[in-house]
């Protein structure tokens, strides 16, 4: 009886997630009347604005990942090594983006960095891009920090640091030759999550008026019928691809697990 309920719950859950997905996929294939076709996909992929916005978001995602790694790895490392008492507070701060809506953050940015402020980042395209990257990094922070912190827990960073120091290494060498390589799997999972977040993000990009993939999806959805469905399926595929890559790198990690 227990088993029946368990299977029942699973079935309902699957229906809840899969039915809309199937419906959407089905719909996206019906652009040509009466037959299944990939016309909607062809239209979407052939749209120069799709190519532009998608490229923009991919580049932004890469910069966000780079910035996030350079921010989070040294911070998490230093906190674990020298300020372990501060860990709960740091963890709390990194979780804040989950409870503060993106729209609040972006309005804060616009107020602080508008053209008449002391640092008018929104006054130039590069400045706005940088601001958007900071915003993305903030949104990704909870995931990135957790991933890296968990990765650091699996190695004895205090002893490894001292071993490296006694061999003459300075902080940069320790970070890039010892710490980063040993949490690479964790960093990669954080990176793929960041990628998925940036590709789908709408609020910040829209309000900062940057040509990102999220606002493009919204625009297309408001004006077309079949293409948005195709686009949604593509976005889904990207996200799931990222999750699959996380699984893959965790499975193929080598040498990072010491038995001690």
């Amino acid at each position: 009886m227990k088993k029946f309920w368990a299977w029942g719950a699973l079935a309902i859950g699957l229906l809840y997630f899969i039915l809309p997905l199937m419906g959407m996929t089905n719909f996206s294939l019906k652009m040509r009347r009466g037959v299944y076709s990939l016309d909607a996909y062809a239209v979407v992929l052939g749209d120069p604005r799709f190519q532009e916005t998608f490229t923009y978001s991919v580049v932004m995602a890469l910069f966000t990942i780079l910035f996030g790694v350079l921010l989070v790895v040294p911070t998490a490392y230093w906190v674990r090594l020298k300020l372990p008492a501060l860990r709960p507070y740091i963890e709390f701060v990194t979780l804040l983006p989950l409870v503060i809506p993106a729209i609040v953050i972006v309005f804060g940015y616009i107020r602080l960095y508008n053209t008449s402020s002391w640092l008018p980042l929104t006054g130039s395209i590069t400045g706005t891009n940088i601001l958007l990257m900071f915003g993305y990094a903030t949104l990704a922070l909870p995931y990135m920090y957790r991933a890296v912190d968990t990765g650091l827990r699996s190695i004895d960073i205090a002893t490894l640091t001292e071993a490296a120091q006694s061999l003459g290494a300075g902080w940069t060498t320790i970070l890039f030759r010892i710490i980063l390589p040993n949490v690479l799997v964790a960093v990669l999972s954080g990176a793929f999550l960041t990628f998925a977040i940036v590709i789908g993000e709408f609020t910040m990009a829209a309000l900062l008026n940057r040509p990102a993939f999220g606002p493009y999806m919204q625009l297309l959805g408001a004006n077309r019928a079949y293409e948005p469905a195709a686009l949604a399926v593509i976005a889904f595929a990207i996200t799931w691809g990222c999750l699959g890559l996380i699984q893959l790198v965790s499975r193929f990690q080598k040498g990072t697990q010491s038995p001690v």
Partner: protein
């Protein structure tokens, strides 16, 4: 002129003084062990030499050069940790090469040195292995090679054998000693295992609650413990409480049996209590011995330890244990039986405290 000098080193963590006025001069090429129970401050002293802790007072110098204002990575010191601490992302050769790479040595020199080091620890065939693919003993040998590769002035080892099984512990300590002598490197070895310290050191520092109780060669430490603590910690020395009978004649009584010591008793008067030490291997059973250099008592227990049989007997308020070499014909005394132990007057040492 000694090579590594620690002068009046002190260290406090908050209100707790962990190292108190620690003095030590180590000669070039010498192998010195810090021996003491857990928590007595051995690691803290070692970490101050390496630069990981800053002394609250005192001075550290290597080859006449003060180390006080040098960061750990500016000191020329090799360190081996109990937990091996090999870099998990690097294979054996890369681990050994790390210090040389950091120092910016040319590639040809690094390759040659790595090869030499792997030959020294006899692990040439495992150069491509990663740490997680090796046993503890192999990892610790790699850690030793990694520490030695940049030719440090001083090698520090913090209980490097504690995590290994008994057999490997013995063979690796001999290997460490051999490599140390071969290279002539000044070495400080921390351990809580007295047998380990006795077997491989030139000199031993017995540490007790943050200070050095006694510094001496293994034989001096074992045969002539300076304090009750050293006597109790090193070896399985018997500590016997005795009452002074005649200070001028060096006569004391243990329980109701009188003995005469060879050593002067010092400034005591009749009726005072003194502590004596007797090594378990010093005496032998002699049924008809009597007088000044024999003690009789009832057997409390006998333990078969392989090459020796250890018997404990009660004399007065003290328990005295003594060892007999095992031989096929030997019948150990039964519990409750009265036996007489004969020794020479010089075997009974006076512990000053």
């Amino acid at each position: 002129m000694s090579f590594l000098t620690l002068s009046s080193i002190q260290k406090s963590f908050g209100p707790v003084q962990v190292v108190k006025d620690f003095n030590m001069s180590i000669e070039k090429g010498e192998f010195v062990s810090f021996l003491g129970p857990s928590g007595c401050g051995k690691t803290t002293v070692l970490r101050m030499i390496a630069g990981f802790e800053t002394p609250s007072g005192g001075a550290i110098a290597i080859d006449g050069k003060s180390q006080m204002n040098l960061r750990p990575n500016q000191r020329n010191i090799g360190m081996v940790f109990q937990a091996y601490a090999l870099f998990p992302n690097m294979n054996v050769a890369e681990n050994v090469a790390f210090g040389l790479k950091v120092a910016g040595r040319p590639k040809a020199e690094i390759d040659a040195r790595v090869k030499e080091m792997l030959g020294l620890i006899k692990l040439d065939h495992l150069a491509d292995r990663y740490p997680y693919q090796m046993s503890g003993g192999q990892q610790q040998r790699v850690a030793l090679a990694r520490a030695l590769a940049p030719k440090p002035q001083v090698l520090l080892l913090d209980e490097p054998l504690s995590a290994l099984d008994a057999k490997i512990r013995v063979s690796l300590r001999e290997e460490i000693r051999m490599i140390q002598q071969q290279l002539g490197i000044t070495t400080v070895f921390v351990t809580h295992d007295q047998e380990e310290a006795l077997s491989i050191s030139d000199r031993i520092v017995v540490m007790n609650a943050g200070k050095a109780d006694q510094i001496g060669t293994p034989a001096e430490i074992y045969n002539r413990p300076a304090t009750r603590f050293v006597a109790g910690f090193v070896g399985t020395l018997n500590l016997i409480e005795a009452k002074v009978v005649d200070p001028a004649a060096n006569r004391v009584s243990i329980g109701d049996q009188g003995v005469t010591l060879r050593e002067p008793l010092g400034t005591v008067k009749a009726g005072d209590m003194v502590s004596l030490a007797l090594r378990p291997e010093a005496g032998s059973i002699a049924p008809d011995a009597k007088g000044d250099t024999a003690l009789s008592g009832a057997v409390v227990s006998t333990n078969f330890l392989g090459s020796v049989i250890r018997t404990r007997m009660k004399v007065g308020d003290s328990i005295i244990s003594f060892d007999m070499f095992n031989s096929p014909g030997l019948v150990p005394p039964a519990v409750g039986e009265t036996v007489t132990l004969r020794f020479t007057a010089g075997d009974l040492l006076v512990i000053s405290d």
